[in-house]
C-alpha cells in the first residue's frame, strides 16, 4: 500500500503541493514565532548581562507591599544615601542611578528617536562599565553631550556638531563631544551628560530610584549585600547583581510567554483555516479518484488499507508542508527582525537560533493538523463500493442540506442568544460569552452551505446580468456543489470575521475616546507628546506665565490604593481642573482637593460606602499608607478616572526625573485671541521637539488614532489566515477545473473564447471570495457588537461600526478573488480543446 500511496501522490503532484502549501503557511507561523521568541530571548539576555556588568549589589526603594496593582512602585531614595553606602566596607564604587529622558534634534531639526522606543538619558561616568567611549571625549558642563552610536548615526550629525537637546525638562543648545557604545539598545536612543547636569535634570529633588555598587576585588556579592543592607534605612533594600539578573530573567520569561501565546493564537487561526483547505482538497482528490479507489477495492484492498493509504498521503503532505513551513518560518522571523530594525533603527538579534523544540513542534503540529483533516475524507473514501469501478457516471447524489442547515442554524441562534444574554447583563458573563461566540462560529461554519445558494446568487447577479452566459455559467458553477463553495468560503470567513470584529471594537474605542474627550475636556488647547512620551514639567510652568492663559491643568498620574480600590489616580489642582474638564460634583466640593483630601467617583463611593468627610486609608505610589479625608464625590468620569489626588502627593511619590504630563491642558482667558495664543504656545513647545499644540478636535483625533498602531499589527497577523484561505480558493478552483476538463473542452469547441473562459473562472473565484467575506463580515459584526456591548461597562460606551472599512474589505475580497483565479484560469485556457474533450 505504501507504493500505491506514493504513486498516488506522484500522480497528483501539483494538487498535493497546493495542499502542502496550506500546511506550510500555518506551520511557518509556528516556527517563526518560536524562532523570533528565541532570538529576542537571546538578545535580551545579552542586554541584561551587559547592563548588569559591574553591578555587584543594587540598592533600591522597598515596595510598599506585595499586593494590589502597585507592584512596580518603589519608593525613591535620597542622594545623600551615597555617602552612607561609600562608607560600607568592601564597597569600591557607588553610582546613583541618575537617569531620565533625554533627546537631541537631528540634522533635520526633528527629534531623534525610533517609533515609540524610549529616549534615555544617562550620567556620563568614565568608570561606568555599562558603556564605552569609542570616539571623542565625555561631556563636561551643561552644553556638552555624548551620544550613543546608533542614535548618532540616526541623527545624521557628527562629533563637534551643535544641536538642540532636551534633557529632562531642560532645553538648551549642546555640542556633541563623544560617541559611546552600549550593548544592544533595542531601539532606544541614549544621550549622556556630565554628572552635575544629570543631577540637576533628573534628580533636582535629590531623589533617585537606585544605587549601583561595585565590590572591591575579592569581596563576594552576598557578603557585600549583607554589609550594605545593614547600613540601609527601612525604605531601602539591597539585592545582589545575580539576584537582579534572575529577577530580570523572570520578568523576561513572563513577558515572552505572553508574546509567544499571543502569536501562537494567530498561528492557531491560520492552522485552523489550513485544516479546512486540507479537508477540502482531500475530499476533492478522493472524489476524483473514486473509480481508482473502487478498482483497488474490487481487486481486494480492504477498507482499512484504503483509509491507511489516505492517511499515509496526509502524513507525507504534513511532513512536506512542515518542512517547507519551517523554512518559510525562518524567513518570516528574518523579515520580522528586519522590520523591527527598520522600525526601531536597531537590531534585536545577531543570529536566529533554530532550536530543536521549534523544529519539533512545527513538525508535530503540521502533521497532526494534516492527518486530522484527512480522517473524514479518508473514511468516506473507504466506503466506496467496489462496483463504482464499473459504473460510468460517478456523480454521487449530494445529501440534503436541510438537516445540516437546521443544526447549524440552531447552533448559531443558541450561540448568539447566549452571547447576547452574557454581554447585555450589567455584569457581563465572559465565560458564557466565550461559549456563545464559539457556538455561533461553529453554527455559521455548519450552516454556511445552506446560505451558498441565496448569497452567491446575489453576489453573482451583476455578473449574470452584465456578463451574459459567461456570468450565468460562473454562477451555476459556484452553486453546483454548495458544500464545497461554502467550505472554501468558510476558510476566508474565519479570518475576515476576526478582522471585522476587531475593527468594530477598534472603531468603538475610537468613537468612545472621542466622545469622552469631547464631552469631558473643555480646554482651549492641549499640549501633548504624541502619547509615547511625557510632556516635561517645565512646559506647563512656562505656559502658565503666558498672559492670555487662564489656567493650566497637567494630566499626570500615579498608582494609588484607596481602601480596596487599586487604580491609577489623576493628580492635579482644583482650579485648573474645574476650568479644563467638565466634572460634575455629586457631593462635597472640587475645591476641597489638597494634600489631606482625596476625591473619588460616584461608583467607587457607592461600592465602598464612602461619604464626604470620612477618612480613608490611601497609599500613593510607594509612599507609606496615610489617612486622607474624602473631600468630594464626582459623577463617574472616563477622562479623570476613579480617584483624584492633589498635585503635591504626586510630587512626593514620583522623583523629579520620572515626572511629566501625559497632556497639558490650556484654558485661554475669556478675552484671549486664541489664534495668537496658539502661535505663542507653538513657539513655546517647539524647542521640546516632541511636544505639539492641538485644539480640541485635533486632540480627539490624536487620542483616537493611538488605537491604530495596535490594530495594524493585529491585521498583519490575521492576514496570514487570509492568505491561507486564498490559497484554498486557488486550490479548489484548480481542482474543480481538472474535474471539469471535458466540460471546458466542450465550451471551447462550441466557441467560448479564451478570454471568456478566464472571465468565467474569475467570476467563480470572485463569487467564492466575496461569499466568504460576506459571511465573515456578518459574523464579525455580531461578535464585534457583542464585545462592545460587554465592554461598555468598562468605558467602551459608544458603538461604532466601520462601514467604510467593511465595504473596503468586500472590495478587497473581490480583488483577492481575481488574483486567486489567475493560476486556475491560465491552466484552463491552456487546455488543448481536443484533449480536453477526449478526457474521461
Amino acid at each position: 500500500m505504501i507504493k500505491i500511496t506514493l504513486a498516488g501522490i506522484r500522480g497528483h503532484i501539483l494538487r498535493f503541493l497546493l495542499t502542502a502549501g496550506a500546511v506550510m503557511l500555518g506551520v511557518s507561523f509556528v516556527t517563526g514565532t518560536f524562532v523570533l521568541r528565541d532570538s529576542i530571548d537571546a538578545t535580551l539576555n545579552n542586554l541584561f548581562s551587559q547592563a548588569l556588568k559591574g553591578v555587584d549589589v543594587q540598592v533600591r526603594g522597598t515596595q510598599s507591599s506585595g499586593d494590589g496593582g502597585l507592584d512596580d512602585a518603589r519608593a525613591p531614595l535620597p542622594l545623600a544615601l551615597e555617602k552612607t553606602l561609600t562608607a560600607v566596607p568592601g564597597v569600591q564604587r557607588v553610582a546613583p542611578d541618575v537617569q531620565g529622558t533625554a533627546l537631541i534634534a537631528g540634522k533635520d531639526g526633528t527629534a531623534v528617536r525610533s517609533g515609540g522606543a524610549p529616549t534615555l538619558g544617562f550620567a556620563f561616568r568614565d568608570d561606568d562599565p555599562a558603556f564605552s567611549l569609542v570616539a571623542g571625549r565625555g561631556p563636561s558642563g551643561p552644553s556638552e553631550v555624548a551620544v550613543e552610536q546608533a542614535t548618532l548615526r540616526k541623527s545624521g550629525l557628527s562629533l563637534g556638531d551643535t544641536t538642540r537637546a532636551v534633557v529632562g525638562d531642560q532645553v538648551r543648545p549642546v555640542t556633541i563631544t563623544g560617541e559611546v557604545v552600549f550593548g544592544s539598545m533595542f531601539g532606544a536612543t541614549a544621550v549622556l551628560v556630565d554628572e552635575a547636569t544629570a543631577r540637576s535634570a533628573w534628580a533636582s529633588d535629590g531623589m533617585v530610584s537606585a544605587f549601583t555598587i561595585t565590590a572591591e576585588p575579592g569581596v563576594d556579592q552576598d557578603q557585600l549585600r549583607a554589609a550594605v543592607a545593614a547600613a540601609l534605612p527601612a525604605t531601602a533594600e539591597a539585592v545582589t547583581g545575580a539576584a537582579l539578573d534572575a529577577e530580570s530573567q523572570e520578568a523576561l520569561k513572563t513577558g515572552l510567554g505572553f508574546f509567544t501565546t499571543f502569536l501562537l493564537v494567530f498561528a492557531g487561526v491560520a492552522l485552523f483555516v489550513g485544516a479546512f483547505i486540507i479537508f477540502n482538497t482531500f475530499s476533492m482528490l478522493l472524489g476524483q479518484r473514486t473509480r481508482e479507489l473502487a478498482l483497488l477495492r474490487a481487486v481486494g484492498a480492504s477498507r482499512g488499507q484504503l483509509q491507511g493509504m489516505v492517511l499515509g498521503e496526509a502524513v507525507v503532505i504534513g511532513l512536506l508542508g512542515s518542512a517547507l513551513g519551517i523554512g518559510l518560518g525562518i524567513l518570516i522571523a528574518l523579515g520580522a527582525k528586519a522590520a523591527i530594525r527598520v522600525g526601531l533603527g536597531a537590531s534585536i538579534a545577531d543570529d536566529l537560533p533554530v532550536s530543536a523544540a521549534a523544529v519539533g513542534w512545527s513538525i508535530v503540529v503540521g502533521v497532526l493538523v494534516t492527518v486530522a483533516s484527512a480522517v473524514i475524507p479518508g473514511r468516506r473514501a473507504s466506503r466506496i463500493a467496489p462496483v463504482a469501478a464499473m459504473r460510468d457516471d460517478l456523480v454521487i447524489a449530494p445529501k440534503g442540506l436541510r438537516l445540516r442547515g437546521s443544526v447549524g442554524g440552531a447552533l448559531l441562534v443558541v450561540g448568539l442568544a447566549g452571547l447576547g444574554y452574557a454581554v447585555t447583563r450589567d455584569d457581563p458573563l465572559w465565560p458564557l460569552a466565550g461559549v456563545g461566540a464559539g457556538l455561533a462560529v461553529l453554527g455559521a461554519l455548519v450552516a454556511a452551505p445552506l446560505t451558498t445558494r441565496p448569497v452567491v446568487r446575489l453576489i453573482a447577479w451583476p455578473f449574470a446580468a452584465l456578463g451574459g452566459v459567461v456570468g450565468r455559467l460562473a454562477r451555476e458553477n459556484s452553486l453546483r456543489l454548495p458544500r464545497r463553495t461554502a467550505l472554501t468560503a468558510s476558510a476566508l470567513m474565519i479570518g475576515l470575521a476576526l478582522i471585522t470584529g476587531l475593527s468594530v471594537v477598534a472603531q468603538s474605542v475610537k468613537a468612545s475616546v472621542a466622545d469622552i474627550v469631547t464631552s469631558e475636556v473643555t480646554s482651549t488647547y492641549v499640549l501633548s507628546a504624541g502619547g509615547q512620551s511625557l510632556v516635561p514639567t517645565s512646559v506647563s510652568t512656562a505656559a502658565q506665565k503666558l498672559p492670555q492663559v487662564a489656567s493650566v491643568a497637567t494630566v499626570n498620574g500615579v498608582g494609588v490604593q484607596v481602601g480596596a480600590v487599586d487604580t491609577f489616580a489623576y493628580a492635579g489642582e482644583a482650579g485648573p481642573i474645574a476650568e479644563n474638564f467638565a466634572l460634575t460634583m455629586r457631593s462635597g466640593e472640587l475645591a476641597a482637593l489638597d494634600a489631606t483630601h482625596v476625591l473619588v467617583d460616584e461608583t467607587r463611593a457607592e461600592e465602598n460606602g464612602w461619604t464626604v468627610g470620612e477618612a480613608v486609608p490611601v497609599r500613593v505610589g510607594a509612599l507609606p499608607a496615610r489617612q486622607l479625608i474624602v473631600g468630594g464625590i464626582y459623577a463617574d468620569s472616563q477622562f479623570i478616572g476613579q480617584v483624584l489626588i492633589d498635585e503635591s502627593l504626586y510630587e512626593e511619590a514620583v522623583p523629579a526625573g520620572a515626572r511629566g504630563a501625559f497632556s497639558v491642558h490650556i484654558k485661554a482667558q475669556p478675552t484671549a485671541d486664541v489664534a495668537a495664543l496658539r502661535a505663542e504656545l507653538t513657539t513655546l513647545v517647539e524647542p521640546y521637539l516632541l511636544v505639539s499644540v492641538q485644539d480640541g478636535e485635533e486632540f480627539v483625533d490624536s487620542s483616537a488614532s493611538q488605537v491604530d498602531t495596535l490594530l495594524n499589527l493585529l491585521y498583519v497577523l490575521l492576514l496570514f489566515s487570509v492568505v491561507v484561505a486564498v490559497l484554498g480558493i486557488v486550490n479548489t478552483l484548480a481542482l474543480s477545473i481538472i474535474e471539469r476538463t471535458r466540460e471546458i473542452g466542450l465550451l471551447r469547441a462550441v466557441g467560448l473564447g479564451r478570454r471568456q473562459l478566464a472571465g468565467m473562472i474569475t467570476i467563480e473565484s470572485v463569487a467564492t471570495a466575496v461569499f466568504g467575506a460576506v459571511l465573515g463580515a456578518g459574523l464579525g459584526l455580531a461578535l464585534g457588537v457583542a464585545l462592545q456591548r460587554g465592554l461598555r461597562v468598562q468605558g467602551l460606551e459608544t458603538l461604532a461600526i466601520p462601514w467604510l472599512g467593511i465595504g473596503g474589505m468586500l472590495l478587497a475580497a473581490s480583488v483577492v478573488g481575481v488574483l486567486a483565479a489567475v493560476i486556475p484560469a491560465v491552466r484552463a485556457v491552456r487546455l488543448n480543446v481536443l484533449q480536453a474533450i477526449a478526457t474521461d
Binding site: R480, L746, V750, G751, L752, L834, I837
Partner: protein, 263 residues
C-alpha cells in the same frame, strides 16, 4: 485500382469551391517524431458538398477522427490547406479559430455534449449566447419542433435520457445556422432506436433546411443515411460511395478489408 477519389485533381479547385462548403488540399497530420512518428493523415485532398450529408468511415486509427478534427478547426494540420465556407484556416489565431467555430460550425460529439449546469434550452442557445447574438425565435421553434423536445426545455441534462441529450446537442449544433455541422460518432453511445432518431434528425436537417453535415461513424447503418460515404485507411481516402445503403456500405467495407489484407 480505378477508384474515383473526390478532390484528387487540384486542377479544378474552383469547381470544388463552387460545390464544396469545405475542402482540404494536401492535408497531412503527423503525431510524434522519430520512432513514435505516426502519420494520421497523408496528403489528403477532400471536399464536402453544400447541403449534403457526408459520412466518413474507416477502421480505428484510419485517421477519420483526425480528418474531422482538422476540418472542424479543432486541430491544426502539420501541412496542407483547409478552407471552410470560404475561410482559409492557414495562419488563423486561436481567437479567430474560436470565432469561426462559434459562428460557422456546429458540433455533435459522441458523449458529454451538454453543460450540466445549464438547462436544455440554455444548452441549445449556448453558441449564440457566447457570441452575444440574439436567438431567432422562429428558427429556434422550428429546430425544437424538429427534435421534438419542447416539453423538456427547462430540464437539466441529467434529467434527460442519452438519446434526448443527443437531440439537444443536435439542436444546439443547428440553432446558429452554421455553415457546416460536424458530428463525431453521434450515435456511438445510443441504442438502435435512439440512433435512428438522431440520424433521421440529421437527415431532415439536410433535406428540409439545406444544412451541410459531416459525420464520422463506424456503423454501416448510420452511414446509410448519408448522401456520400468516404472510406479512410492509413490516413488516406481509399474509397467513396454515393447514395449508400447499409448493405452496399458493408459490402464495400468487406471488399476493402480484403483488398488491404491482400496488399
Amino acid at each position: 485500382m480505378g477508384i474515383h477519389v473526390a478532390g484528387i485533381e487540384s486542377a479544378d479547385d474552383a469547381a470544388h469551391r463552387a460545390g464544396g462548403i469545405a475542402f482540404a488540399e494536401g492535408l497531412t497530420k503527423i503525431y510524434g517524431s522519430g520512432e513514435a512518428r505516426v502519420v494520421a493523415l497523408d496528403e489528403v485532398d477532400v471536399s464536402f458538398e453544400r447541403g449534403r450529408l457526408t459520412a466518413i468511415m474507416g477502421p480505428s486509427g484510419s485517421g477519420k477522427s483526425t480528418l474531422m478534427h482538422c476540418m472542424a478547426a479543432l486541430d491544426t494540420p502539420t501541412s496542407g490547406r483547409i478552407v471552410i465556407d470560404g475561410v482559409d484556416l492557414a495562419g488563423l489565431k486561436d481567437r479567430e479559430l474560436t470565432r469561426l467555430r462559434r459562428d460557422r460550425l456546429g458540433f455533435v460529439f459522441q458523449s458529454f455534449n451538454l453543460v450540466p449546469t445549464l438547462s436544455a434550452r440554455e444548452n441549445i442557445t449556448l453558441p449564440l449566447d457566447i457570441a452575444g447574438k440574439p436567438v431567432d425565435p422562429a428558427w429556434f421553434d422550428n429546430v425544437i419542433d424538429t427534435i421534438g423536445l419542447r416539453d423538456r426545455l427547462a430540464h437539466r441534462p441529467n434529467q434527460l435520457s442519452g438519446g434526448q441529450q443527443q437531440r439537444v446537442a443536435c439542436a444546439r449544433a443547428l440553432v446558429s445556422r452554421p455553415a457546416i455541422v460536424f458530428a463525431d460518432e453521434p450515435t456511438g453511445n445510443l441504442d438502435s432506436r435512439a440512433s435512428a432518431e438522431i440520424l433521421g434528425f440529421l437527415r431532415r436537417s439536410v433535406d428540409d433546411f439545406g444544412q451541410s453535415v459531416v459525420m464520422v461513424t463506424h456503423e454501416p447503418s448510420a452511414a446509410a443515411y448519408a448522401d456520400r460515404v468516404l472510406f479512410l485507411d492509413d490516413g488516406r481516402i481509399v474509397d467513396e460511395l454515393l447514395s449508400p445503403t447499409a448493405d452496399s456500405v458493408l459490402e464495400r467495407m468487406r471488399g476493402f478489408d480484403m483488398a488491404t489484407r491482400r496488399s
